[in-house]
Symmetry: C2
């Protein structure tokens, strides 16, 4: 019987992958994942069995892992970023109750909040919230409540999945909610395709951010009331006395 | 002139370090950091100049990096976890304005939220907040407001720095605040010394968590109303239809 490694591969380039993730991908017979992330892995690892399922086929993807492991394969289920942050770790526990004999392990990775922050400057140095704008699995009212609560508490907010074809105006709606508690001049940033072709990042004000086109590869950062721009970068002071 | 790499080394073992962090530590002449993290690095990298400053000497630590780089050394400033989450990235931008010619770069790493979640199960699969209980640089009233807001919005909460010698009762205070919005049976977890000697993790209810002794190497996870225990692990369902 094989083992399954639910593996966060980081933002998408080899250098931000952990040594453990690299070892797992090198060692496993079968690499399974959503098409986009499989392509990233295929670029670096040859002579593997690559299997993918589509966007809404997460349960099938998990079942496929257990089936392959039952056949004796060691399986890497790849997730972008970290496997435990909006990743597949939870669904493997849920579906895994039907396969109690097959062992699996979570291999953590660098999530987009961390890799995006490193590009933008240092936006996450104080307390922050990570909120997904996807309402496929979470009702929009709940997402709205979370945005309002964290903006009210002056926390930095990092938004995952800010847009898709079906959810074109969601970032604007989120910005409008935050604008009830934060100034239009609040410093914000976006990162896109981190560590991949088309990588970009930019710093905006909250008012500007509401009008910026984003996509499913964008991660959005909304500063707190102390966030400022230093040399063009987005920086949230922790509060150290610098004495100059 | 040398370059400075502000490097997140992950939880503390080599396997959860990124390839880039490993490359930076191998390449740099001088490795600077808080004593505890320097010891972790010293374990793996020999023939380097190791320099450390104490707990409250963060500004001096940054100045030391710029001084060494001005002398021509390539410097790695090591942070545990991710350099951009309660790490040194921000202070380097702040102190760096006095050294405009010295280049530096942030190298992201696996933060304790990710590495701890991987040990506990899958607690962070839905929206979550990361809050530090240290009131050295943030007034307690602000921390309290953030805890209340995120508990009210039914977000998973990950607490960093839950305790120190001077702040013995802070986790209990935080739990009492959360108990105003969450049931005493809410599923919680702690992780300690992730990837190092003395690694441990445990799952509790919120009521139990209030009485658990923690220290500066503990990371605390407080579930939302949907978080449950599967095979002894802490799992927050994302909401997929599993169809069984």
């Amino acid at each position: 019987m094989g083992k399954i490694y639910i593996t966060g591969i980081g933002p998408g380039n080899l250098e931000n992958m952990t040594l453990k993730a690299l070892e797992v991908l090198s060692f496993c017979d079968t690499i399974i994942g959503y098409k986009v992330y499989i392509e990233l892995a295929r670029h670096y690892f040859k002579d593997k069995e690559f299997l993918s399922t589509g966007m809404a086929e997460e349960v099938q993807r998990c079942e496929l892992c257990f089936k392959k492991a039952a056949e004796g394969k060691n399986v890497a289920l790849v997730c972008s970023g970290d496997a435990g942050i909006y990743g597949m770790a939870e669904l493997m526990y849920q579906t895994g109750t039907a396969y109690p004999d097959i062992p699996f392990e979570i291999v953590p990775g660098v999530t987009a909040a961390s890799s995006g922050a490193a590009l933008l400057g240092a936006p996450l140095i104080q307390d922050f919230a990570v909120i997904s704008l996807s309402d496929l699995l979470t009702p929009w009212e709940k997402i709205e409540k979370r945005i309002i609560a964290t903006a009210y508490a002056d926390m930095v907010i990092c938004l995952y999945n800010p847009s898709s074809k079906k959810r074109a105006g969601y970032l604007k709606k989120a910005c409008q909610l935050i604008l009830k508690y934060a100034l239009p001049e609040t410093i914000c940033g976006i990162t896109e395709n981190i560590g991949r072709e088309g990588e970009k990042w930019a710093v905006y004000t909250l008012k500007e951010l509401a009008e910026i086109p984003v996509n499913m590869f964008t991660t959005v950062f909304i500063g707190n009331s102390q966030t400022k721009v230093i040399d063009g970068m987005m920086v949230t002071p922790r509060g150290y006395k610098i004495g100059r």
